[in-house]
């Protein structure tokens, strides 16, 4: 049978006798990174479809969108932008710590990131609740009585920030999973690709918000 040991990669030789390494499909750092980048690409297209819908209706109802946007609380939105920005810093630092072998520091920074994400969701919750208390939520009588552009703006607002919120929740779950993997020595200073990929995911989630914030909050500034 096959003489496969973990002593090193399989090496084969061409006709001229030059050695070539065979990629081990069970342990392929580059493959794992490449696959995750493709996944991020699909996420980008998922949000891209939403941004396309947003731009289409923004183009059709610019006045309504600006008017509706001016009713949002830009301070809370700005705070959330800041919170996410800081959280990506801690996420990145935890990866650097892990690569340097400082496992407890890395773990602490992941926990800080989780707490910041929970803070983000809390602020988001109060924002949504404020709208809902004013009777503004999809298909409410108050909202349906307003102009088309305003209905669509809030429809998109709840959909897009909601979808983004779902991604934050998935991110929290992934970070908890990483903490478990680190305790079980599955993620280590030499085998960190899972943390690296989650950090990439977190950057995407943060970047999406960086575009959501101006589109929903800043367009109504000064109105």
């Amino acid at each position: 049978m096959e003489q496969h040991t973990n002593s090193g990669p399989e090496i084969i030789y061409d006709k001229a006798g030059n050695p070539h390494e065979v990629v081990d499909y069970n342990d392929d750092y580059t493959g794992a990174k490449l696959g995750f980048w493709f996944f991020l690409f699909t996420e980008l297209l998922l949000f891209g479809g939403m941004f396309l819908v947003f731009s289409f209706y923004f183009y059709r109802f610019p006045e309504n969108f600006v008017e509706a946007s001016s009713t949002l609380n830009i301070v809370l939105g700005g705070t959330n932008t800041f919170i996410l920005l800081v959280s990506t810093y801690f996420m990145g630092m935890s990866l650097i710590n892990l690569k340097n072998g400082e496992i407890s520091k890395a773990r602490l920074k992941i926990i800080i990131t989780i707490l910041l994400s929970i803070a983000f969701l809390t602020v988001k919750y109060f924002e949504w609740m404020a709208e809902i208390h004013h009777g503004i939520y999809p298909d409410s009588d108050i909202l349906n009585a307003k102009e088309s552009g305003i209905i669509l703006y809030f429809g998109l607002y709840f959909t897009m920030t909601g979808l983004h919120g779902v991604h934050i929740i998935i991110g929290i779950a992934l970070m908890i999973w990483i903490l478990i993997l680190m305790s079980g020595k599955k993620v280590t200073p030499t085998n960190y690709v899972v943390l690296e990929n989650v950090a990439l995911y977190w950057d995407l989630v943060h970047l999406v918000w960086v575009f959501l914030f101006p589109l929903f909050y800043i367009i109504g500034l000064g109105k």
Binding site: M1, E2, Q3, E10, I12, Y13, D14, K15, H20, E21, V22, V23, Y25, D28, T30, G31, L34, G35, F38, F39, F41, T42, E43, L45, L46, F47, G48, G49, M50, L52, V53, F56, Y57, R60, F61, Y137, P138, D139, N144, E147, S148, G149, I151, L152, F154, G155, L156, F158, T159, L163
Partner: protein, 550 residues
Amino acid sequence: MTRKTFYDETHTVFGHHENKLFQWIFSIDHKRIAFLYMIVMFAFFVVALGVALSMRLELFFPGEQLLTPDQFNQAFTLHGVIMVFLFIIPGIPAIFGNFLLPLLIGAKDVSFPRLNLFSWWLFLAGAIIAIVSLFVGDGFADTGWTFYAPYSVNTNTNVLMALTAAYILGMASILTGLNFVVTIHRLRAPGMDFFKMPLFVWGLYSTAWIQVLATPVVGITLILVIIEKTIGIGIFDPSKGGDPILYEHLFWIYSHPAVYLMILPAFGVVSEIVPTFCRRTIFGYRAIAISSAMISIIGYLVWGHHLFSSGMSEWAKVVFSFLTFFVSIPTGIKFFDWIATMYKGSIVMATPMLWVVGTIVTFAIGGLTGVVLATLGITIHLHDTYYVVAHFHYAMLGGVIFMMFAAMHYWFPKFFGKMYNETKAKFAFWTIFIGFNLLWFPMFIAGALGMPRRYFDYLPEFTIYHQISGVGAFVIIFGMLYMGYNLYKAISNGEPCGRNPWNATTLEWQIDSPPLLENFVNTPYIDFEPYDYKDGKPVHDLYDEIHKGR
């Protein structure tokens, strides 16, 4: 020494299982996963055939026979959803791609074996949701497989479950595509550069890119309909300022590339079979490889031709019409290359080759009628008629599914190490081929005369076309059952045929049939092109090198 194949031993995701069933449904071996897909998909294929036959029976005479008008709407939706989302889109990549991709490039498995199994489980979950929605509430969706808003938002049938099912199936498709792209980039045997890959791999590569790039768009579109239906955000609802045409655009941005996603792996299958049975290298290897990529790129930019009669500016129509014509050029290149390969070759008319030659005829009809439909003036007359139905069945059934049948006959000996009965297989081909043309060709005429699609009733003057079609439907279904029976019998009773019964050149035939668990004992070094023949024999045989030291 007895040889242990992948049937005898496997890797599973949760360690070792005593139970044989668990050893299959938790297996992360790409060959077993291919079989898992095959079983589920063919079960659904039979269901969808039954639904189609019931529609043909309903239409055998004018007036109401078998199905009520509402049931008829549900029947064509069910037929479309199963055939598109559960059979043709995953079809060749999930079965033949999974089984053969690692074998063709000299790899031991795909890049992410666990993700591969997870994709199958997602696929199964989506399939189960689709089936459950048949039996609860008001029954299966009656919107057509395209789920056009605003009707899909307003109808009371189970659109939500159908959408959820389609979304989950889309995720499975994305993950498979992602897996294949990474596998092709990372796991090719040393020395095999992109232009030494077999052409089926090129087809899978282009397909996988479409899966990764286009499916998320339909994913978000389906989610938007789900949100619209549950909480009423208004984006597809004209009474709130929304625009139903926007749905059509978003839907077809994915679903037109999906058409090429169906056909490209099928073209790849043809490019494997033609050189093997002509005993010579393929004509224009690079042209075929690059035309696959061209089709997938241009295929992105033609979605608007589904909306010619929905309301669109004249300029946009001209551009979409031009691009649609243009996509037939890389397709034509492939056809000429295959025919040039056959020209003056010593063709062996074995069953797979017979299927390919038959498909070249039927797909040419399907493709060229597509060019007719892309013409701006004519399309207004033919839109939503039986002409369109006949066109896409010639392309999908007469193209993709026929080539899938070709692949089944070509790689059957690889799967099982046995050979089916050749005479019976040829008889099945002729039955299906004749039944197929009897079934669909009259629809071109009926459509041109004005028979609209998706109607459960028709004017008496169309009776003759429907009756010819009805007879054809029985012939083709008999043929398919006979073909299935012939192949099924061969699994247990077929003659053992050795590892390379076709004298093929590609890597999968240079290892044992059926393959070992990790395919290659030693990874070969590939410094030659995939279809090298000399005097009708393959030039390279690496069997001894691959199995050295076993």
